[in-house]
């Protein structure tokens, strides 16, 4: 146990807009935690900052007791902090198997795949995410739900300690959502710390025991989903201040 990810006073400005403003939180090892907020709250920016795709203007990020602020994305991945993208980014002209193999070829993935071999290891991950029968297809012809599963498979290929899932449910049918739910739960049961975003509360409610709510780049509240959902500021953020609906 212990703190695996510690974010302190994170700030990111895009010109005059402060996308993330003095953002701080901690995640315990093995925790399953959600990050919610209305559109444009800065959830994806927080992920980009943590995973190294963008450099923060101020603040620090400590992962596993090590300062990772300013490291390059691939270095962070090889430490065990992996993220997925909101808009699925697969390698379009390679087979589904090769998509996962690339992740297994990273230094960290290689270490995990050493015993069974890259191809076997990647196929094993594919069979776990349920794409083994499509291993030879290029991702361009897969439906959106399969691409989401592939995205998680790619992240799993690097043998992550903590997985940052950026809106894994957006644009999916109910059945597909249930598949992803089961998959994420399984990863969590295996001991992977999971940090997940979503802008629809209902999706996350049943899934996570703890939620951080953010609005306009700031933490509003932090706690169990029921508590967060009834929090006054959260309702205001989602529905507006007028109190017509709330």
């Amino acid at each position: 146990m212990g703190v695996i990810l510690e974010v302190k006073n994170l700030t990111k400005k895009f010109g005059g807009l402060t996308a993330v403003n003095d953002f701080s939180f901690e995640i315990q090892r093995g925790e399953f935690i959600g990050l919610i907020g209305p559109n444009g709250a800065g959830k994806t920016t927080v992920f980009n900052l943590i995973s190294g795709f963008e450099k923060p203007n101020a603040g620090s990020i400590r992962f596993d007791g090590m300062d990772i602020t300013g490291l390059k994305p691939f270095q962070i991945v090889n430490l065990g902090l992996v993220r997925t993208f909101q808009l699925v980014r697969s390698f379009h002209y390679m087979s589904v198997l090769d998509n996962v193999s690339v992740a297994c070829l990273s230094p960290r993935g290689k270490k995990a795949a050493e015993k069974v071999g890259i191809d076997q290891y990647a196929s094993r991950i594919l069979s776990e995410v349920g794409l083994i029968d499509k291993a030879r297809f290029p991702p361009v012809i897969l439906p959106h739900g399969d691409l989401r599963r592939l995205e998680i498979g790619k992240a799993a290929g690097t043998n992550p300690q903590i997985l940052l899932l950026d809106e894994p449910f957006s644009g999916l049918s109910y059945e597909e959502q249930e598949h992803i739910h089961a998959l994420i739960r399984r990863l969590s049961n295996e001991g992977v710390t999971i940090f997940i975003t979503g802008h629809v509360l209902r999706e996350l409610m049943n899934l996570v025991p703890r939620v951080i709510a953010m609005h306009q780049g700031k933490v509003i509240t932090d706690g169990p989903p029921q508590e967060v959902a009834n929090h006054k500021l959260v309702l205001e953020a989602y529905l507006g201040r007028g109190g017509v609906f709330a």
């Binding site: 795709f53 390679m94 992740a103 196929s123």
Partner: protein
């Protein structure tokens, strides 16, 4: 929630024997059958591609031996050299997505260095060729490092600038004593007394280069190259050090382009600054586009079609009179445009498919 899905889900969560995440468990064993590769050279010869490759190589060897025509042999030699050059460009642009328009830099550096070592140091051609290629790798590093920050058209322009810089450097009169200015280096000894022997040397080098290139693209490095081409940030998010692998691609590509350049100068027994012209980069690009991007073996077909068929077949037309001098170029340009219009993926894949049907027909399948 429908009952069926719920049952599947509960199976998934509880880890039932017949289902895993809603997928019948039997399919999980599929992964054992996935890696299917040809295991030995013997096996490969009898596959469709293998037998076709062997036939093509035998055909290429037989043409100069039967005709005993020096002109035809010379054309075939340059075809072989340019196919190595085109394949090296294909590795960089087609597989790694780093579209370089300054590939003549590697070609020219290889050509100059090999020529210089043969002429000044009196080294045998083979060692000069290797030295030329190694220096081209170093140049690949020098070009690669600043160009790695560039993407797409900017990378193309950046690399092209390098070829212009080198062209003007080698052309300049002030540096005539060192770089030879417009005269370049001439009067190199021939690679071999007999042109056919030279041809065979180059053929062997070309085959070895292609085998190495194909091994590289089929290996793990090749997978990473393709990932960088398809989506660089996604490769980054998969834990791949993209900068390192892009540099490796520049170096490998530079090595083979250097070999092609060295062979070019050693074969023509002279070299001048025109090897740095963008024209040579465009030769590689046209040949790869004709054969098919990201195929490696397509560049052989592309080089053959462009260099041997389009360039040579219509040459007699130009001899009708001065009015017709532009005819060969015009016709080959028109054919080129038509080919690229109707075969966007290059002509290798459709050609192989049709040949495959014929092959199956011959075997009575």
């Amino acid at each position: 929630m429908p009952k069926k899905i719920r049952r599947k889900l509960s199976d998934a969560v509880s880890g039932s024997k017949n289902f895993f995440l809603g997928i019948p468990r039997a399919t999980r064993n599929l992964y054992k059958e996935i890696p299917h590769q040809v295991k030995s050279f013997k096996e490969w010869i009898f596959t469709f591609r293998g037998s076709l490759t062997i036939l093509c190589i035998i055909g290429t060897i037989l043409i100069p031996l039967i005709t005993m025509d020096d002109y035809i042999t010379t054309i075939l030699i340059s075809f072989l050299i340019f196919s190595i050059f085109a394949a090296s460009w294909d590795l960089l642009a087609g597989f790694t997505g780093q579209t370089s328009f300054g590939h003549s830099v590697f070609f020219g550096v290889g050509a100059y260095v090999a020529a210089a070592f043969v002429k000044m140091a009196g080294l045998p051609w083979f060692f000069s060729m290797i030295i030329g290629a190694v220096v081209a790798v170093l140049v690949g590093l020098i070009v690669g490092i600043p160009c790695l920050r560039l993407k797409g058209p900017y990378l193309a322009l950046g690399t092209m600038a390098f070829s212009l810089i080198l062209f003007n450097l080698f052309m300049s009169g002030e540096l005539k004593d060192i770089l030879g200015s417009t005269e370049g280096i001439s009067g190199l000894p021939a690679m071999s007394e007999d042109l056919i022997i030279t041809f065979l040397y180059i053929l062997i080098i070309m085959i070895i280069s292609f085998v190495i290139l194909i091994i590289i693209i089929k290996s793990n490095i090749g997978t990473i190259f393709k990932a960088i081409r398809d989506d660089e940030s996604a490769a980054d998010a998969s834990g791949i050090n993209t900068t390192k692998y892009k540099l490796i691609a520049f170096m490998i590509s530079g090595f083979f382009a250097g070999i092609a350049g060295s062979l070019f100068s050693l074969n023509s027994r002279a070299v001048n600054p025109s090897v740095f012209l963008a024209l040579y980069s465009f030769y590689a690009i046209v040949m790869v586009a004709l054969g098919g991007l990201a195929t490696i073996s397509g560049s052989v077909l592309g080089a053959f079609v462009y260099w041997v068929i389009l360039n040579e077949l219509f040459k007699p037309l130009g001899m009708w009179g001065t009015v017709f001098l532009f005819f060969p170029t015009l016709i080959s340009a028109i054919i080129l445009v038509i080919m690229i219009r109707f075969a966007e993926q290059g002509i290798l894949k459709p050609a192989l498919e049709h040949l495959r049907e014929f092959y199956d027909f011959l075997l009575g399948r």
